[in-house]
């Protein structure tokens, strides 16, 4: 089959690889009909998440049709149209039983590696480094999925791929980012980052009762998307964030601030430069926590900082003084996707959420390296690339071979 593979730092390409096979009796093979490039794939591309190996298949947002099931799969049937949550849940451990599926005890085949890094191992994730299991990802024509009965969600007829694809990751991730703010009716929520997760956080915050959402980014086309969803745009290259937020909230500050950027945020001035330089070593500092720092400083006293943005290792100069003295709460985590799929599916069916509005590009799998390029460099007003693994490449964008992506 064809698959998008990691070929080294800043290099991805489409290669022919072996088809996946059933390895365990609870596995299912999915013929992928739609897959997407996620912002967190950029952290892998850039080499900031350790333990990537040349040849690893990327992709953790995918859906399709079940074409084969293991002998112990009961609920899922060949022919079912399913979405596949990015965290892999065994369905049996204490964490899965308590709806904390991204913390599953059993699904990470490389748990001891993750324990070295984090103390305890989070769940396995498809196509997301060997730290989270090393499983082949879904930017491919087929994928082996694990514990099928507990992971594959059947999609009701009448919904398009575009409407449900993002249930695999970014829609629940934005939703959990908003939920973690513990929004009270009329609250003001500031959201750092107007990429796909930030945009879904904005939608979710309104759905959960926020009176006002302030969207922070530096790309006008992304701020315009946020404004179209009802948020107040704030361009941090034009306004100083703390003062601007104070001005817009009567000096109180937002009740909660969401960091929907994560480890590669862009800072201004010397601090931002120092982070950028240190991070390029991939040793001195793996994470650039500029948005997180700003969130801690700019949230109101007693407020909540919610962090759906991905961090991988270590970040410097987190303002712990502000965190402690302002009595803040921080909530974070890889998304417990399984918990949120049913209620979000209902919102989609009722028309209360339209996930398709964030799609900016539709590409064939062969064009995926081009998709990574424009997504990373914010070219061509790229917000979200959806890939069709079976489409023929269109002229101009095809890039089946390895392609250097270039640094920031």
């Amino acid at each position: 089959m064809k698959a998008l593979v990691w070929q080294g730092v800043n290099r991805v390409g489409v290669e022919t690889v072996p088809d996946p096979t059933i390895l365990q009796p609870t596995d299912a093979i999915v013929r992928i009909t739609s897959t997407a490039i996620c912002g967190s794939d950029l952290h892998l591309l850039d080499g900031y998440i350790p333990t990537m190996v040349h040849g690893d298949i990327l992709g953790h947002e995918f859906m399709g049709e079940v074409v084969e099931v293991g002998r112990e799969v009961r609920k899922v049937k060949v022919g079912d149209r399913v979405i596949v949550p990015f965290p892999i849940a065994c369905g049996h451990c204490w964490f899965c039983q308590h709806d904390l599926t991204s913390l599953c005890d059993n699904s990470n085949a490389n748990a001891k590696l993750a324990e070295k890094m984090f103390g305890y191992a989070p769940s396995g994730i498809y196509g997301y480094s060997h730290l989270t299991g090393g499983y082949a990802g879904g930017q491919a024509q087929f994928a082996r999925t694990l514990y099928a009965d507990d992971n594959l969600f059947k999609i009701p007829g009448g919904l398009t791929d575009d409407q449900v694809l993002f249930l695999t990751d970014i829609l629940p991730t934005g939703y959990m980012g908003a939920l973690n703010c513990d929004i009270q009716a009329g609250d003001t929520v500031a959201v750092y980052g107007c990429g796909p997760v930030g945009l879904f956080t904005i939608m979710s915050a309104f759905l959960l009762g926020a009176g006002r959402v302030i969207a922070i980014d530096r790309f006008p086309y992304r701020l315009a998307k946020a404004a179209a969803l009802g948020a107040d745009p704030l361009n941090y290259e034009q306004e100083e964030v703390l003062e601007a937020l104070k001005l817009r909230t009567g000096g109180r500050g937002p009740d909660s601030v969401v960091d929907a950027v994560g480890m590669e945020s862009h800072g201004l001035g010397l601090g931002g430069l120092a982070d950028a330089v240190k991070q390029t070593t991939r040793v001195l500092e793996s994470d650039r926590p500029h948005a997180l720092r700003s969130a801690i400083i700019s949230v109101r006293k007693g407020g909540t900082v919610s962090v759906p943005g991905v961090f991988g290792g270590f970040g410097d100069k987190i303002p712990l003084g502000a965190f402690m003295n302002k009595a803040l709460t921080m909530r974070t985590g890889q998304t417990h996707v399984h918990r949120f799929v049913p209620r979000l599916l209902e919102h989609i069916v009722k028309g209360e959420i339209d996930p398709t509005v964030i799609i900016s590009h539709r590409l064939s799998l062969d064009e995926a390296p081009h998709g990574y390029h424009i997504f990373k460099h914010k070219e061509d007003h790229c917000v979200k690339c959806v890939l069709d693994p079976w489409a023929a490449p269109r002229q101009g964008n095809a890039s089946g071979t390895s392609k250097a992506m270039g640094a920031d």
Partner: protein, 245 residues
């Protein structure tokens, strides 16, 4: 690889010899035995490490290679002489009752899969098993174990029968965990050499690394097996690497 005679050689340091002579395990034969075990376990590490394509695998291989290098490059008389026994204890919580877990361990026939990352085990009956660990150069270490104590719902302990190069014993304890969390399972493995010197070499050489990986892995595999019926695997995981094609 022959890890025997070519490594023997005259001791060069009189002071070291005097020190070693004063301690058990400092004699020439014991030193050679220590080195032999270090080499074997270094080789096991290297093999385990090279078998997996990962950061951890690379680390294992490096550690194993370092042990081999250290032992191959030093003269036999310089082997250390502490007499610690290699002992590793790890704990994991499993969402089943102690009685169920005890039955799984004793009667399920799961031991070969639980220890499959490390040893080939044939259970001859409920109390006896034959263990084989492959080492580089087509060699292998093997031993038989016998259950010496078992208390339903509480513990199982076993030890190797006389005649192995690496005598060892192990025990697994089951203790109810708080709330709805199931059972705390503690696995302890001791590797104890005749005369107390082989284990010292193993413990020192491995610096706790390999036995802790072995024990931690065994517990994780046991947990996955009893909670989900399977042990996560990456065998035949598609990638663009020829080795996994």
């Amino acid at each position: 690889m022959d890890v025997g005679s070519p490594l023997g050689g005259p001791a060069t340091s009189g002071i070291a010899d005097a020190l070693k002579g004063a301690l058990p395990g400092g004699t020439g034969k014991a030193s050679q035995e220590q080195r032999r075990v270090t080499l074997i376990l270094g080789g096991v590490l290297l093999t385990l490490g090279l078998r997996r394509v990962s950061f951890g695998g690379a680390a294992l291989a490096l550690a194993g290679g370092a042990l081999l290098y250290r032992e191959l490059s030093r003269q036999s008389g310089q082997a250390g002489a502490e007499t610690h026994m290699a002992e590793v204890t790890r704990s994991i919580t499993i969402g089943k009752s102690a009685a169920e877990l005890y039955r799984f361990w004793r009667e399920g026939g799961h031991l070969p899969r639980v220890m499959g990352h490390f040893a080939e085990i044939t259970e001859t009956d409920m109390d006896q098993a034959h263990w084989t660990v492959r080492v580089p150069g087509g060699r292998s270490l093997s031993w038989d174990t016998r259950v010496v104590e078992s208390r339903p719902g509480e513990l199982v302990s076993w030890q190797s029968l006389p005649g192995t190069e690496l005598p060892n014993r192990g025990e697994v304890h089951f203790r109810p965990a708080p709330g709805d969390r199931g059972t705390e399972v503690t696995l302890r493995l001791h590797f104890q050499p005749p005369g107390g010197t082989l284990g010292a070499a193993a413990a020192r050489a491995l610096n706790g690394l390999v036995p802790s990986l072995l024990v931690g892995d065994a517990l994780r595999r046991f947990k996955s097996l009893v909670e989900t019926g399977e042990i996560p695997t990456l065998d035949r995981n598609p990638s663009a690497r020829a080795s996994t094609a």
